[in-house]
Amino acid sequence: MGASAPVTMANREAAGDLRHSCRESGDNCVVSCFLENFLTSRSVIASIIFAVVCGLAATFDFARVPAEKFPESTWTGWAIQDFLSAKSAPDVVFLGSSLVLVPVAGVDANFLNRRLDGSQHHQSAYFESRLKAKTGRAVRSFNFALPGEMPSDAYLITDFLLNRENKPKVVVYGLGPRDFMDNLLPNPGATDPYRSLIRFGDVSSMIDRMTPDWIDRLNFNISRTFYLYGLKQDLVAEWVQLASKQLSGLMPVPAGAKPYSVEQRRMLLPDYRPAELNRAEAYFRPSKAEHFADNLAEYKKRYAHVKWDTFTSQMRFFAELLDICQQRGIQVVIVSMPITDLNRSLIKDYSWEAYRKSVHVLSTVKGATFVDLQGTKTFNVSDFMDTVHLHSGGGKKMLDLVVEQMAQDKAVRTALELPELDNGSKNRSASSQSIPEKRVADAGRSAL
């Protein structure tokens, strides 16, 4: 707030008063001028002290909080906390975007006949029940499908979380075309899951793919170099918590008045904490009839001008996810999720073919089980709540088909420690049989 005298014609001398007349001359001048005041420069000393403060803070792990203590409650945060707090690893983990999350949770609301808190419900009770009925084996599932989850996010979940004592036997990964060709996403590092997941591992080896923009990479590198900058979200959260506590004493909510709910606050400030999800805020409710919502306008934007950089980058993360699972002995079931013809018609044929073939080929080459629900033509528009998301009825159909194929798949049965089936012809999924093995392998190698 300090003010100094304005620079006008009247005090032109003042404008020039910073001009320096050096005592030295010639080449010595530059060096001597530079060094003359170096050790008394306030900004130099302040920068050195700041660097020392950062170094000391890093040395003593100042204010570091556990990775799972998130500064903000989000879908991802709730899922990770729930996953890590389990006593043992689940047998089956679901991965995917809302294409998987919505029908799987919706089916459970109907199946359990009660509303389910989206922040707390991370299993598929219906899937567990169907699989038990089909195979006689009780399994525990965990639904790690998250809104907006991209293959890059699924890769981070797999790499950072599905390991050691948390390693599942089977991963069921539902994929849709949006996962590879979403124009609205600037880069893989722009998702909400990414922000939460990078707390659990080092992404520096893949940072050029996660954040292709140089400024994002610079931001990442600064956060690694300067301890306080890297920890800023946690520090701010801690500070806000502390300040809130103090304010509750100094400026309490007036007697007889109620604090604003999250919905009220969201109405006033729609852009504040866009990824926030609180407990008891998003429910999946039992329902029979679903209203169909037309979301074509949104998907027109998503699919317009496919960015092939994004496509190949996400496809590479997908391939690497399959590699990691293979290395860790996790059997992957890839589910090609159905979408409506309305939505499909927005995608150019060559983009659609590239998506379909790449997913199929990679799944087969990497030893995953491929369940092609898009190709079955079992689903029609009445199974959907909008042009891409299955409603609970469609979800039930989807899980029935997935369980059916998993129960017959040799690799899945082995992973789940189920006895082998007598009929050898049923050991492969139907769609895998449709492409000759050699052709798939060749195509897979060229795709990679």
């Binding site: 300090g2 530079f34 306030r42 800023k232």
Partner: protein, 485 residues
């Protein structure tokens, strides 16, 4: 490129180092290139606009100087000023004018569908057009021409002041370019201090208060009249710290190269009347309006009625300069009316023969400051409201505050019910601190504290600011309010 972005964190030190290792004769071209890179990082095509205007003014203004007859000088001045204003008008006011024509015709029952122009306002155009007009008028008044094109081009495009001022005077700026300066740590120290302080004002104060004004001005119906006063105060400080923060960063950035640019603010909320406020608020604009609009209109050397007319026109056009919208126009007119009312009030006081001791008493001064602040705040409602309808609704709520105070209870304050973000309940602590801080800083200024604060204190403040800004820097960089103008 925003001052509060990582891009600028890379850009500024790069230009700084290049500048000081470059021989003096290449420094102006270097800064010119840097300034165009800075400008074109937003929309490359608009680099042509600023270049075209620069070239046009550089070629046309000498014709004013060369003209021997006064009427020729005037004619050429008219051409230059009109060319600049037409350019500004096309980019800034074309859509607004068409909408106003449509609304007016609709009033008379004439249906008119205005064409959609799809014009994107070039950043900083209001600022550099005003600098060009200032140059033309000064040359017309007999001041020397700028001989070197690069100097002139840098005057208009100098990146620290390019987007939102301060509006420079060429007589102050151009001579600085000729001085073959050697690097001095003092530039870095003073520049860094200003930049850190500017970022502090923007990131920690203005951006937090922005949440309050955003909620309040977009949903005024959700708040009581007392809440709306708090929200209006919050906006008053938001816009001050936002713009003052920007100006500090601009001045600090310029200082890194050894250049001084004018200040824009001098504790505006301790002004004891509206005229005083305009001597302290956006000083480079208010002095421009005085020199190139108010005085040419006749200034105060005319009849009282004409002087009031001149004041009103100056302030109304000053309001319209901020944006092509009716609420800015009304805000400007309101300021004009306040200035006229203040003059009348002063005249009445003089006539009434009230004791001088009373007028000069501290109590009278304090009351004047408080009253002025509230008049200014009412003006901010017009400035910030999304449209005139909202502004009127908020003002009608604000005037009910005295009645609400008679039956005051804490339950009337909805801001206390919003616990997240915490800036809402904290308003009752933050606002008094910000209000008290202004006279305290003024007192420190009087004591000349800022001329020689202890060395250790300066370093301590810099380290504290570095830590705070590191921790509280936002993930995305909100724009400065004055970028839209």
């Amino acid at each position: 490129m925003l001052f509060n972005s990582l891009q600028y964190l890379v850009f500024l030190p790069t230009v700084f180092v290049l500048f000081w290792i470059t021989p003096h004769r290449f420094r102006v071209p270097l800064l010119l290139v840097a300034s165009y890179v800075f400008y074109m990082s937003w929309r490359p095509i608009y680099g042509l606009l600023i270049f075209g205007l620069t070239l046009g003014n550089f070629l046309l203004v000498p014709l004013i100087a060369k003209a021997t007859e006064q009427k020729d000088k005037k004619w050429w001045l008219g051409v230059v000023v009109a060319a600049n204003l037409i350019t500004l008008g096309i980019f800034k006011y074309a859509t607004f004018s068409l909408i106003t024509v449509k609304d007016t015709l609709n009033l008379f029952g004439v249906q008119f569908r205005e064409p959609h122009l799809h014009i994107i306002l070039p950043l900083g155009i209001s600022f550099f057009v005003f600098e060009f007009i200032h140059y033309a008028v000064e040359v017309y008044r007999g001041k020397p021409l700028v001989k070197k094109f690069f100097d002139f081009a840098l005057f208009a495009s100098f990146f620290p002041t390019q987007i939102a001022g301060p509006i420079k005077r060429y007589q102050d700026f151009i001579p600085q370019l000729d001085i073959p300066a050697k690097f001095k740590w003092q530039y870095l120290d003073e520049g860094m201090q200003l930049i850190l302080m500017g970022l502090f004002k923007k990131v920690l104060i203005a951006d937090n208060l922005a949440l309050v004004s955003q909620a309040g001005f977009s949903h005024p119906g959700n708040f009581s009249s007392l809440d709306l006063w708090l929200i209006t105060y919050a906006f008053a400080f938001q816009i001050f710290f936002d713009f003052a923060g920007y100006t500090d960063i601009a001045r600090g950035s310029a200082l890194l190269f050894g250049y001084k640019v004018p200040i824009n603010f001098n504790l505006p909320y301790i002004a004891s009347n509206v005229a005083d406020f305009w001597h302290r608020w956006h000083i480079s604009l208010s002095t421009w309006l005085r020199d190139y609009l108010f005085i040419p209109l006749g200034g105060s050397r005319c009849s009282q009625w004409k002087m009031y007319r001149n004041l009103f026109i100056t302030m109304t056009l000053g309001g319209l300069w901020h944006g092509a919208a009716m609420h800015f126009l009304v805000w400007g007119a309101y300021q004009g009316i306040l200035l006229i009312a203040h003059r009348e009030y002063s005249r009445l006081l003089e006539k009434s023969g009230l004791a001088k001791s009373l007028l000069q008493s501290k109590i009278y001064h304090a009351v004047s400051v408080v009253v002025t602040f509230h008049f200014v705040c009412i003006g901010w409602v017009f400035f910030r409201a999304e449209n005139m309808q909202d502004a009127c609704a908020i003002i009608s709520q604000l005037v009910q505050a005295p009645a609400a105070l008679l039956h005051f209870s804490m339950q009337q304050l909805s801001v206390l019910q919003i616990r997240d973000p915490i800036v809402f309940p904290a308003l009752l602590i933050i606002l008094p601190i910000l209000m008290i801080a202004q006279p305290v800083v003024n007192w420190l200024n009087d004591k000349r504290f800022y001329l020689s604060p202890p060395w250790a204190l300066q370093v301590g403040v810099m380290v504290a600011l570095m830590c705070l800004l590191t921790i509280f820097s936002p993930d995305s960089s909100p724009r400065f309010i004055y970028f839209q103008f």
